[in-house]
């Protein structure tokens, strides 16, 4: 019950926030020069045809009218059509969002696997080589451009060593993708029992996941390290030490108390990466959501941009909600 009230309180804020996001993004994207109608119909279109298309796309009247049209369509689940793919944006996003999510989820898992143990070790062994290493790692990971790291990895592991498949999207070109259920290739290929597709998808995930994982382990490492340091200095951990609790218990307690900060940084990274992974997506021809949005911006294709912003905002909000629930589960102080 408490959980429901807790979640409900947060949900109340989501609607106005989403509205604000749609409002701002709509007017922002409207400012991007370029007439989608002209782009869609090509240079041979007559003015009459253009007018008709604009009307069909809800591009008539004042910007406010257009916004109203967009909103009414949105409520009906219609995000418009992309002139580039000539498909409904909703359909496009349903294909592309999972591609990005699959990538960044695995990348963040890798980042966690690198960042948390390293951060804990660096915080606990303050004078060790691990601490030095983590200090450098944290700074360097923040300094490396992810798209460049991707290129270098491609150069080494594909061009030179030929260990990994070509950086060309999510699946071997010659393979027929497993039937679409979730659009998460890993899941779909498991559902279909298509091990060849699963294998191919995994192989193609390695480099981009490593690229993003290695870089995003930086902030997670830093946050883990600093929070753990603070926790290890805290009174209750010192007291646990004076009580002679085993090292593993002490570390576990400190880590448990550090979890809220770590979860927060992960959620921030998660939200950021939906759009932030776009460069890596480009490098690996991933066909993800960020790429879709960037192409939209560059080509005055408004609906994909709006759809993407909306999707990622909703996604971020869902993530934050989950984070709140995690806090709720971890911390008894919030529960009461």
């Amino acid at each position: 019950m408490r959980v429901l009230r807790y979640v409900g309180k947060r949900l109340i804020f989501i609607v106005p926030q989403l509205f604000g996001i749609i409002l701002v993004s709509f007017f922002l994207v409207k400012l991007i020069p370029g007439d989608p109608a002209v782009l869609m119909l090509g240079p041979f279109a007559t003015e009459e045809q253009l007018e008709k298309l604009r009307a069909g796309m809800g591009l008539q009247g004042t910007v406010l009218d257009q916004f109203w049209i967009y909103l009414t369509n949105l409520v009906q689940g219609d995000l418009g059509t992309s002139w580039q793919t000539t498909q409904p944006v909703l359909l496009d996003l349903f294909q592309r969002f999972p591609a990005t999510l699959e990538l960044i989820t695995l990348a963040l898992l890798l980042a966690l696997v690198i960042g948390i143990p390293l951060g804990v070790a660096a915080a606990y062994f303050k004078r060790s080589i691990i601490k030095k290493f983590s200090d450098y790692y944290g700074l360097l990971a923040g300094a490396l451009p992810d798209f460049w790291l991707g290129l270098v990895l491609i150069f080494f592991f594909y061009t030179m060593l030929d260990w990994v498949p070509a950086p060309l999207g999510r699946l071997d070109i010659a393979l027929i993708p497993p039937p679409t259920v979730t659009n998460f290739l890993l899941i779909d290929s498991v559902i279909a029992g298509d091990w060849q597709a699963l294998w191919s998808a995994l192989g193609r995930l390695i480099l981009p996941v490593v690229t993003l994982g290695v870089i995003n382990a930086g902030p997670i490492l830093k946050m883990t390290q600093s929070t753990m340091e603070r926790m290890l200095e805290s009174d209750f951990i010192r007291y646990a030490e004076t009580c002679g609790l085993p090292r593993s218990v002490v570390i576990r307690r400190a880590l448990r108390n550090s979890l809220p900060s770590i979860v927060t940084i992960i959620s921030v990274l998660y939200g950021f990466l939906i759009g932030g992974a776009v460069l890596v997506e480009i490098v690996f021809s991933w066909g993800g959501a960020g790429q879709y949005a960037v192409q939209g911006v560059l080509n005055a294709d408004i609906n994909p941009v709006l759809g993407f912003v909306l999707f990622s905002a909703i996604f971020s909000l869902v993530i934050y909600l989950i984070v709140d629930l995690i806090y709720f589960a971890i911390d008894p102080r919030i529960r009461s």
Partner: protein, 329 residues
């Protein structure tokens, strides 16, 4: 904890050098220098950071004197040359010298990053200070402050990168619009930072005291609030400059940044990207290293500022430099 560079805390030297103002200033300077050196010795990474940043800036400023070739002139005779004595880091597809272009690049990258970040810091801090100052009051100003915070929420909910590209697309592809885009996406960071600083400082007793004694809002802000919140802002600034360099490069990488053939690390990587698969790695690898080293340098400087601006951490670092051994008082 008193700040470490207060000369009064160094009675031995201050006394020895006499009371003249110049002497005191000299003492203070000497003390600060020595403190800096001590800090740098204790944390050599900081020294590395300052060294990197200074080197990059010097290279950029004196690029015309250092660079062996013109930065934007194609030399088709020498295209895609491997690194050699003649071309230190090789040449790109149009035969431009990569070393030359790398040392010219900070001119653009740092200009954009520093200008964008400083603008965002100034604007963000000002708004943040106002919001923080008025938020807990009543009336229209508090309402407005709340509104600004909600607006910042909405802006920050945007995917940063897409937002930046959209801004560049709107304003057109020019230096100014890239700076504007970077300033825009960074502003909420400073807004929040400053606001939380102000909220903390505002409730301190000495500020309340000024308030009660009838000092004007402006005076309180100028005298107490802004000076006291500079440390975190400065530290954030340096880290942020590095981050903005990355963002600039990223914008160029997708084609929404600087215009070719302007030497800029990101666009150099983007151009070189084409040839990395056919084995010509140098046009994109070297600019990437330059970029990473620069951001690394700024991150180190940011870390040092963070430590130096925080009295307790500064003390931990520099130790009790202030506690000079001296004879019985």
């Amino acid at each position: 904890m008193q700040s470490a560079n207060e000369p009064a805390l160094d009675p031995g030297e201050a006394g020895a050098l006499g009371a003249s103002a110049a002497g005191r200033r000299w003492t203070r300077l000497k003390f600060q220098l020595r403190f800096l050196l001590a800090v740098l010795r204790a944390r050599p990474m900081f020294a590395l950071g300052y060294f990197i940043v200074l080197t990059i800036i010097i290279l950029g400023v004196f690029a015309p004197l250092i660079a062996p070739y013109p930065p934007e002139t194609a030399n088709p005779e020498d295209f895609l040359q491997l690194p050699s004595g003649r071309h230190l880091l090789g040449t790109d597809a149009t035969g431009m010298d990569i070393f030359t272009r790398i040392i010219y690049a900070p001119r653009i990258d740092l200009t954009i990053a520093i200008a964008g970040t400083v603008i965002s810091a100034v604007v963000g801090s000002l708004i943040g200070a106002l919001v923080g100052y008025y938020q807990e009051m009543r009336g229209i100003r508090a309402f407005f402050a709340g509104f600004v915070m909600r607006a910042a929420d909405v802006l920050q909910a945007f995917p940063v990168f897409v937002f930046a590209i959209a801004l560049v697309a709107i304003f057109g592809q020019s230096l100014q619009s890239i700076i504007a885009a970077i300033a825009f996406v960074n502003t909420p960071i400073y807004l929040r930072l400053m606001r939380s600083q102000v909220l903390a400082i505002r409730n301190m007793r000495y500020v309340e005291a000024s308030y009660v004694s009838g000092a004007s809002d402006v005076a309180i802000m100028l005298r107490h609030i802004i000076p006291n919140s500079l440390g975190p802002i400065l530290s954030q600034l340096s880290v942020n400059i590095g981050w903005s360099v990355l963002l600039t490069a990223a914008l160029s990488f997708v084609g929404a940044g600087v215009v070719a053939p302007t030497p800029e690390w990101g666009s150099m990587i983007a151009v070189g990207f084409q040839s990395i698969i056919t084995g010509q790695w140098w046009p994109s690898v070297f600019p990437g290293i330059a970029l990473a080293v620069t951001v690394f340098g700024f991150a180190l400087v940011g870390a040092s500022v963070e430590v130096l601006a925080d009295p307790s951490r500064r003390r931990a670092l520099g130790g009790t430099l202030r506690q000079k051994p001296s004879g019985a008082a």
